[in-house]
């Protein structure tokens, strides 16, 4: 019986997973753009981004442009690796047949 792969709980959250996936396709993205793409609220988005930041999966650069605050997020190498691992684990779980309720 093959051992079931573990899914990274930091990556697994639906919004965090969406954020990591979005950031993996761009060089960097602003908070407002991420909010629009995920249709999330400021509070929820901020909290999930903080979790990703604390896990070392994203970095944030805060600056002012035309006197307006701007938070630019980037995925880190660790974040990219975690996302790739997560996808690998998902595919492995799916290929183990119709496990459905594991």
């Amino acid at each position: 019986m093959p051992e079931l792969p573990e899914l990274d709980p930091v990556v697994h959250g639906r919004l965090r997973l969406a954020l990591l996936s979005l950031l993996s396709g761009v060089d960097q993205a602003e908070f407002t753009w991420l909010r629009a793409r995920t249709e999330s609220t400021d509070g929820n988005l901020g909290a999930q981004l903080l979790k990703l930041e604390q896990a070392g999966y994203v970095t944030v650069e805060k600056k002012f442009v035309s006197r307006k605050p701007q938070s630019l997020y980037r995925i880190t190498e660790a974040g990219r690796h975690a996302l790739a691992e997560y996808v690998r684990s998902l595919k492995q779980l799916l290929s183990l047949g119709p496990p459905v309720e594991l």
């Binding site: 919004l15 996936s21 761009v26 793409r37 999930q48 459905v100 594991l102």
Partner: protein, 201 residues
């Protein structure tokens, strides 16, 4: 963690990842306004140089002003869009082409060698064709490739007509590939970059 996940949930997670990665990659800024701005700038410069006594300043002043307005508007919009490799690639083509044209025409003008309007129209059309063509290939955008073809056709055509006719051909190409294409791009782009998949936690 994986103990209580249904196959449907797992597949849904995979779909979310794929769609979000694609969402980020395909997102490009809407530059329709820039095409319109530069089309109008060409018209202003041509009108100024044709009907004013200080015609030498027409092109350098108009082009520098248009570049300044472009930078100002682009900076104010920068926060609304992510920075992507594709966006940087397309931007680099236009910046490099713009700088090349500015430096070349300034030098030709200062040295007194820009006496034939056909020479100006041919070089400008060919370079705008190059920028549009390269952009179209990167973005896989057939309509922009159509613009590139119009510019290349204009570059060839102006070599075989009179000076006045070459100006008419150039004005027509500007109208089609800057003004009309820019308006289309601005309208089409406005509805394109809307979120498709809500991703709440």
């Amino acid at each position: 963690m994986s103990d209580h996940l249904s196959e449907q949930e797992l597949r849904e997670r995979l779909n979310l990842i794929e769609s979000m990665i694609a969402e980020g990659r395909r997102h490009t800024q809407n530059w329709g306004w820039a095409f319109i701005l530069w089309g109008v700038a060409y018209y202003v410069a041509m009108g100024w140089s044709a009907w004013s006594s200080s015609s030498w300043w027409a092109w350098p002043v108009t082009m520098v002003a248009a570049a300044g307005i472009t930078i100002a508007i682009a900076s104010s919009k920068a926060g609304d869009h992510p920075r992507t490799t594709l966006g940087r690639g397309v931007g680099s083509i236009w910046i490099a082409s713009g700088v090349s044209m500015f430096v070349l025409f300034l030098a030709l003008s200062m040295s007194g060698r820009l006496t034939d309007p056909r020479l100006f129209a041919a070089i400008a059309s060919a370079m705008l064709g190059t920028a549009n063509g390269a952009s179209a290939i990167l973005l896989r955008w057939r309509l922009q490739m159509g613009c590139a073809i119009v510019w290349w056709a204009a570059a060839v055509a102006v070599c075989f007509v009179t000076g006045t006719q070459s100006i008419v051909v150039f004005l027509l190409a500007i109208f089609l590939c800057q003004i009309v294409f820019g308006i289309y791009g601005a309208i089409a782009g406005a509805g394109k970059n809307k979120p498709r998949i809500p991703a709440h936690a």
